[in-house]
């Protein structure tokens, strides 16, 4: 049988994998939602919607896995985190519903003006979702008052300048992913436009991230200590350099997927740095993975399911992606109407 500490580390890895997958996959969809809402031309908006329509629902499912996983694997962290972030979470769920309705119903708009308004809701929903998720991460890193059992704050810690800054960073970052995705999946005018946006958003995201890292190490001496470890920052810097080269060269080569994967790589890197700064805490300032964990029976029961079902899930999800792969072109503009 596995050693108990290993079970906890594996559980944390499974949870981290689910959350990271959500951020990478649905983050891209949210970015597309933002860019779509900001686009005037109806035909381009149609093409943007087509790139995500067949897959966004599956991408969002990772968020449910993250929630279920947190409750199942680290119930104490779940019970402390959610009441502390009550309003951001509720707003995020309403925003996600708004976005789902806008995306699925936009083609039933009776006229172009209403469709534009629906896409405005998609923009609002996507922005609010991204911002709330950044606020959640920021509040977590900033630390959540608790007695190791229940949340003990006043419910407004998330309204600090650091969490709000994190919200802004994540929105810009998601939009960057969205632009890279569109660069990969579209052609001609929309692709050229997405390339320009992707480059500009890359610089913005990197500057914002640099400020974020500096800010984070100044929040808590333990974060600074962990990130100052050469085994952390040295490989991280080298990887960042390689990813940046990949991103820039992606626009010159014919490998249109390269900028997106480089951008996703930078997201993975940022996520890994956050984990490195927090580990072994799950809810700063003091709750550890060990203390928050569910019993080994529960964790092992879930790790078995995870090990068996996640590979299968990844295979059929990849198949689902591949069915709709290739360049998107809007054939007949955005002319589809109700009942035809």
């Amino acid at each position: 049988m596995l050693d108990n500490d290993w079970v906890i580390v594996l559980s944390a890895a499974a949870l981290g994998f689910s959350v990271l997958n959500y951020v990478l996959l649905d983050g891209t969809d949210l970015g597309v939602g933002v860019l779509l809402g900001l686009t005037r031309d109806s035909q381009l908006r149609r093409a943007m919607a087509v790139t995500i329509l067949p897959i966004w629902d599956a991408n969002e499912t990772w968020l449910v896995l993250g929630g279920g996983g947190l409750l199942a694997l680290f119930p104490l962290a779940y019970a402390i985190l959610l009441p502390a972030l009550y309003l951001p979470f509720i707003l995020m769920f309403l925003a996600l519903i708004l976005r789902a309705v806008a995306l699925e119903f936009r083609d039933y708009s009776p006229n172009e003006r209403i469709k534009r308004a629906v896409d405005g809701l998609l923009l609002g929903g996507s922005l609010l979702t991204g911002a709330c998720q950044g606020i959640v991460l920021g509040t977590l890193v900033q630390g959540i008052p608790n007695d190791g059992w229940q949340y003990s704050g006043d419910g407004w810690e998330w309204l600090g300048i650091f969490p709000l800054y994190c919200g802004a960073v994540l929105v810009v970052g998601y939009t960057w992913l969205g632009a890279c995705w569109l660069y990969w999946r579209t052609e001609e005018e929309l692709q050229r436009r997405s390339a320009r946006q992707a480059r500009a958003l890359a610089s913005m995201t990197l500057v914002l991230l640099a400020v974020l890292v500096t800010w984070t190490v100044n929040l808590d001496a333990r974060y600074a200590y962990r990130l100052a470890n050469p085994l952390v920052w040295l490989p991280a810097s080298l990887l960042l350099l390689a990813l940046l080269c990949g991103f820039i060269s992606g626009f010159q080569s014919r490998r249109d997927y390269l900028p997106l994967f480089a951008a996703l790589g930078i997201f993975v890197l940022a996520f890994a740095l956050m984990i490195a700064a927090l580990y072994p805490l799950i809810v700063p300032p003091q709750l550890t993975l060990q203390a928050a964990a569910s019993s080994p029976t529960s964790q092992v029961f879930m790790l078995i399911g995870f090990a068996v079902l996640i590979p299968v899930t990844l295979i059929y999800n990849t198949y689902g992606f591949s069915v709709f792969s290739g360049k998107v072109r809007a054939l007949e503009g955005d002319k589809q109407r109700m009942g035809d």
């Binding site: 093409a47 087509v50 329509l53 067949p54 897959i55 966004w56 599956a58 969002e60 499912t61 449910v64 896995l65 929630g67 279920g68 996983g69 409750l71 199942a72 694997l73 119930p75 104490l76 779940y78 019970a79 985190l81 959610l82 009441p83 009550y86 309003l87 979470f89 509720i90 769920f93 309403l94 996600l96 519903i97 789902a100 309705v101 699925e104 119903f105 039933y108 229940q150 003990s152 419910g155 019993s295 029976t297 529960s298 029961f301 399911g305 995870f306 079902l309 899930t313 059929y316 689902g320 069915v323 360049k327 998107v328 072109r329 054939l331 007949e332 589809q336 109700m338 009942g339 035809d340």
Partner: protein
Amino acid sequence: MDAFDSALTAARAQFAITISFHIVLAALTIGLANFLMALEALWLWRRQTIYLDVYRYWLKVFALTVAVGTASGLILEYQFGLNWSRLSTQAGDILGPLMFYEVLAAFFLEAGFLGIMLFGMKKVGPRLHFFATCAVAMGSLLSAFWILSANSWMHTPAGYAIGADGRFIAQDWWAIIFNPSFPYRFAHMTLAAFLGTATLLAGVSAWQLLRAPQNPRARLVWSMALWAIAVLTPVQIVAGDLHGLHSLNVQPQKVAAIEGSWTRPIEGAGEPLRLFALPDMTERRNHWELAIARVGSLYLRHDLSSTIAALDEFPPQDIPPVPTVFFAFRVMVGLGLLMLGQGVASLVLRWRNRLYATRWMYRWCVGMTPAGFLAMLSGWTVTEVGRQPFTVYGLLRTADSLSAVSREQVVGATWTILAFYLVIFGVGLWVLLRVLREPPHAGEPGPQPTLADETGES
């Protein structure tokens, strides 16, 4: 009792609102996915385009409801922490894994193949497409399996131990998953999802047939839905009866509240069937009671003289709010009997070859459109309000399950959610009705008919 705007009342209202909207959409997903699976199977078997036309038409409706259903379910996965963090701390070890498996084994199956089912016919061909439809239908049923297992465990906890810190610890997963009330609940709920969808399909197609009586596609849907109602309603009544008998063993207070039985009748007198009463929680008795003697014993004990435990045999702090349970049960059963009548009427009309020639039957079906889902919501009210004042039955009280969130935040959020849901789902329903106003035509396009040609090499 608690104040109307206490954090506890608001948190309970919030759960009731979010789950009521979600459960209707989720049940519609289950029902429609299986209906679509049957249609596609018929099409592949008989190769008649009518099945494909109807399939594509209802696939459009499915596309509009399924993703919104998923999105409305996200919040529920987090409700346990947002409003019920003490319950999460206490029972997270057991409820968490069940919900985790729901996502792993069910949600992904459903969501992963949804894109192919909705837009991929041209890309993957009919056989693989049928596989995708089956995967979505299977995923929807599996997700009901896991979430009802979690729900049932809270009604009839089993397979657990209580740790040194007072938390529930899993001991026997088999006993947890297949806890005593789970088989009844799963059967009753799955049938409710099918019946809710069936009355909806019957109502919508009857509405279309009132204006386009010759449309063969609307006739097909109407006939299929009425067959489902005729066959499944009797089965559902049996399942409900078994579920009730089981509840009598494990949650006698709930059944006493359903019956509105405050005091036990004298030995050998049997339980009356109370058709109507106004249960009074403070005086602990009924006003305006209208009852038929002994009939209650017939369905409760399957004889004419036995009685059941009455409400005055339990401590006052352990009984549920009686009027809500009492009336919700009568609404559920009343609608169930109307559905039974609908099924029987359809069989009689079929036998006389008058099925498509009776306008009153069309009108009855239109009136019954929401009946299945209303009955389902009433049933949920019976079972969930009936298990109060506990979250984990007999072990953890609802008042001790609450999060440490300020009253203002909970109350504000609950009103916001209610207003938002009414607007969003109201608009959604309006769009849906506009789509359904037009009956299915020959050569019906599916959802996003041009999408397949717009991506990749096609």
